[in-house]
């Protein structure tokens, strides 16, 4: 069955990456100058890749839809970045980071990739410090660490609550340096709308200039997608408004398999939805669960009274409160992993004990911590988080408990890539959150930054050489080649069709509708029945979208509504694939919970049947995709049940 070649190098786990690097083919400096590489996306992975490849001497073209490469959503990551430095002398090692990541991912990630990630984590910190990233330090001047969920060592490096921002600005600086030196040509406010393939190889892209609306053609000997995650398929998520799946989806339709699309990370501590007008959800750092206690009233009556404003949190006596995480998971309590905390909140609310008017919210209470430590200590410990919460909700968490609810935060699924990060389209690579590679079915905190930077700084510069070394005789292909014309025509026709619909409903109407379907049926808990229903609903929505969407303005101008429409069209198609994937995976693991497969609320994995990566091949919008399996072979660790009880 396993026709997918993941190209994992030979040798013992710890030697694989070195073996690979020592035997990978090289491109000499004179030839690098003749090779052009396209990088789509300028987040951690994209900016790091574009800068590193340009440093090596390749001619790079980088693209982002924002007005500047510095705006990519990597910037919003708060907590930190993991690295197996063992600076704390607490027994950390590459193997432990590797193991924690595999276990955190519920044993659904590829061993060799994760081991490489853990190895490179150490170089990332060195690189970033050298770039002037102002990591937190101890009084002796050395780097400080904090601990994070899912591990027993302190290995998380951080820059206040703005680690993602600082790492991204480091990579952005490196990228701008190369732009200044003329090695990278930057195209901001450009959105990739097609991949161009010639004789089975990725050779360029068609991008829409978002200011003029023009479609432009770009050639590259290789194309790298680092376009981020697709959490916005749920409409409401902690992602940026512009985060989208379009680049990855167009690649998927051109032959790149899409792997594990159903693995979605729902973050337990976000500010609950308050109204229909709401455009996005805000994450409150996971670290709050160190001191905050999660609870709902024991009785539905009390919960109802709170919802209706007849009672407040303080009116509920201690014995009438259900600290459900402490009750269910006595050993980890409020600090259990994200997927578990999220599902428990959903259960409590499904039971009618939610405490916000919509019914979807639970308390995160700091009263005990304040009693124990004093207001000042608590305030200092959580710095900007409390004012941020107060600004959004107009409630002071020092006086009344925070209200939180889970929200979509990250997606583990993405384009399938082999060990070299190449997709199933030759010469088309995928990095960062956009690929599926390292987090299995659930990602641990502080690992997303690590993966993006490892892919961009330390993996792709080696692996792309192995491919480009055989491309040195390929001259730059002029963009009047028929394949470019054909791809541009496709994009143009699609755009004209879309804007020509002139229907009644707005783009957001459809996006919200899609989000509701996804959240209801493909969210925190999924059933075969619900997923089957969802598929029909999404198909209907797709048809209605293409016959009733209303996009104002024209194609030859700056038209954000049109840009959004193109992205929503792709989200709708992706939504269907997610549902198909979730339906296929008859087990519960990490960010995929099928209500039929559980042991009293705990996820029940089926390693016998589902220890594989589900990689989907696109056939046609109306046809079923074809499943390809990559078996996950564990040679170095034993699969076991994840328990946090």
């Amino acid at each position: 069955m396993s026709e997918l070649n993941s190209k994992i190098p030979e040798g013992p786990l710890a030697d694989k990456w070195n073996n690979y690097k020592e035997h990978a083919k090289l491109v000499n400096p004179a030839n690098k100058r003749k090779l052009e590489v396209i990088v789509v996306g300028t987040g951690l992975a994209g900016a790091a890749a574009a800068a590193s490849l340009a440093e090596l001497g390749y001619q790079v073209k980088a693209f982002c839809f924002q007005d500047s490469p510095r705006r990519a959503h990597s910037i919003a990551a708060q907590g930190g970045i993991n690295a197996a430095k063992n600076y704390k002398n607490d027994g950390d090692s590459v193997f432990r980071l590797f193991y924690d990541t595999i276990k955190g991912g519920d044993f659904r990630a590829r061993e060799a990739n994760v081991y490489r990630l853990a190895t490179e984590s150490r170089n990332i910190i060195d690189q970033c410090v050298a770039q002037g990233v102002p990591f937190a330090r101890e009084y002796g001047g050395l780097l400080d660490n904090r601990s994070f969920g899912g591990s027993q060592v302190s290995r998380t490096f951080y820059a206040r609550g703005q680690t993602g921002q600082q790492l991204l600005l480091g990579a952005y600086g490196a990228l701008e340096r190369q732009i200044g030196l003329g090695n990278v040509k930057m195209y901001s406010r450009h959105e990739m709308v097609e991949v161009v393939t010639i004789e089975g190889k990725a050779r360029g892209i068609i991008a829409r200039n978002l200011i003029s609306g023009e479609l432009e053609r770009f050639f590259g000997h290789a194309v790298i997608l680092a376009s981020g995650g697709y959490g916005n398929v749920f409409f409401l998520s902690t992602n940026a408004m512009g985060s989208n799946v379009t680049a990855a989806w167009k690649a998927h339709k051109k032959g790149a398999y899409f792997a594990n699309p159903c693995y979605t990370q729902i973050h337990p501590t976000c500010i609950p939805v308050t109204g229909d007008y709401q455009s996005k959800l805000t994450l409150m750092s996971e670290s709050l669960r160190n001191d905050g206690r999660v609870w709902v009233p024991k009785t539905k009556e009390d919960a109802k009274a709170i919802r209706e404003g007849k009672k407040t949190a303080v009116d509920i006596k201690e014995e009438d409160r259900d600290y459900y995480l402490e009750r269910k998971y006595p050993s980890f309590g409020n600090l259990c992993p994200r997927d578990i905390a999220s599902r428990a909140a959903k259960e409590a609310c499904d039971d009618g004990r939610g405490i916000v008017p919509s019914g979807l919210g639970v308390f995160l209470d700091f009263a005990d911590a304040i009693k124990r430590l004093g207001v000042e200590v608590v305030k200092a410990r959580y710095g900007e988080l409390f004012p941020m919460y107060q600004n959004i909700t107009n409630e002071d968490p020092l006086k009344t408990p925070m209200k939180i609810y889970p929200a979509v935060h990250y997606v583990m699924g993405g384009l399938w890539v082999d060990y070299e990060l190449m997709t199933t389209v030759t010469g088309l690579y995928c990095l960062g959150e956009a690929n599926f590679s390292d987090h299995g079915a659930n990602r641990l905190g502080a690992s997303a930054l690590m993966q993006g930077l490892a892919d961009g700084y330390f993996v792709i510069p080696y692996t792309i050489g192995n491919y480009l070394s055989s491309e040195i005789f390929t001259k730059a292909i002029p963009t009047d080649h028929p394949a470019f014309a054909e791809a541009e025509k496709e994009a143009k026709e699609r755009a004209e069709k879309l804007i020509g619909v002139k229907g009644k409903k707005t783009v957001d109407d459809f996006h919200k509708e899609l989000g509701k379907i996804m959240w209801e049926y493909c969210g925190m808990a999924r059933t075969a029945e619900g997923l089957t229903k969802a598929r029909t609903l999404i198909q209907d929505l797709r048809k209605e979208f293409w016959s009733n969407v209303n996009i104002p303005g024209s194609l030859d101008e700056f038209n954000p509504e049109f840009d959004k429409a193109g992205r929503v069209a792709d989200f709708i198609e992706l939504g269907e694939l997610m549902v198909i994937d979730a339906l296929n995976r008859n087990e519960s693991c990490g960010g995929h919970f099928r209500s039929e497969y559980q042991d009293a609320g705990e996820a029940k994995r089926d390693d016998e049947k589902y220890a594989y990566v589900a990689a989907w091949e696109h056939k046609a919008v109306n046809a079923d995709p074809v499943l390809h399996k990559e078996e996950l072979i564990y040679e170095n660790i034993k699969l076991q049940v994840r328990s946090y009880k």
Binding site: A48, K280, T506, G553
Partner: protein, 248 residues
Amino acid sequence: MKFNLKVWRQKNAKAQGKLVDYTIDNINADMSFLEMVDVLNDNLTRKGEDPIAFDHDCREGICGMCSMYISGRAHGPHHAATTCQLYMRSFKDGDTIYVEPFRAGAFPIVKDLVTDRSAFDRIIAKGGFVSVNTGQAQDANNLPVDKADAEKAMDAAACIGCGACVAACPNSAAMLFVSAKISQLALLPQGGPERNNRAINMVNQMDEEGFGNCTNIGACEAECPKEIKLTNIARMNREYLVASLVNE
């Protein structure tokens, strides 16, 4: 809540713009300012009118994309907040609210409230980095950094590049932005070897972009959503003076 809005509408970079009046009703006090504009745009779209173009992305105050000049102030009346962190409860029912783009010659208007802030990128490209290629770094802990300096560097590095400093400055000066980066790297040992060239090249590029000059008015500091301090500008001036004296 109900509001009267006066919004700057401009078809494209070359067109003449003007303030257009809109009235919006049934606004929830807990809505963010941008969500209020979302509602307005939704109404406009349904009426077949062109929605208002505005820049926004993360909507949590960190990406630096949102950029409105609201009722005469960059990012509106809130202290230390971006436009996306402004909530309608900060206004009174029935208020008239002016909404304009960040204005500066160096930030040409793209459409309506959207401006082109790529001048900032070009300044960074002249020296807002440490020239260290991937893989050249030594072990991170081989380079201790005074904690106080690291904290000060972090204060400066918190800049989100939104351009509020330029928008608020009567002179359209970009000194706070440029000085934040120069300060961050001047405070850290990593930035040492290039500090003179960095100061000169970044300041020269800033002037070339057509930003105004600093006259120490302090509006930038007052309106900066990340509370970047004026002391950074003094540090930059010092860096620049020293560099001008010693550079050959």
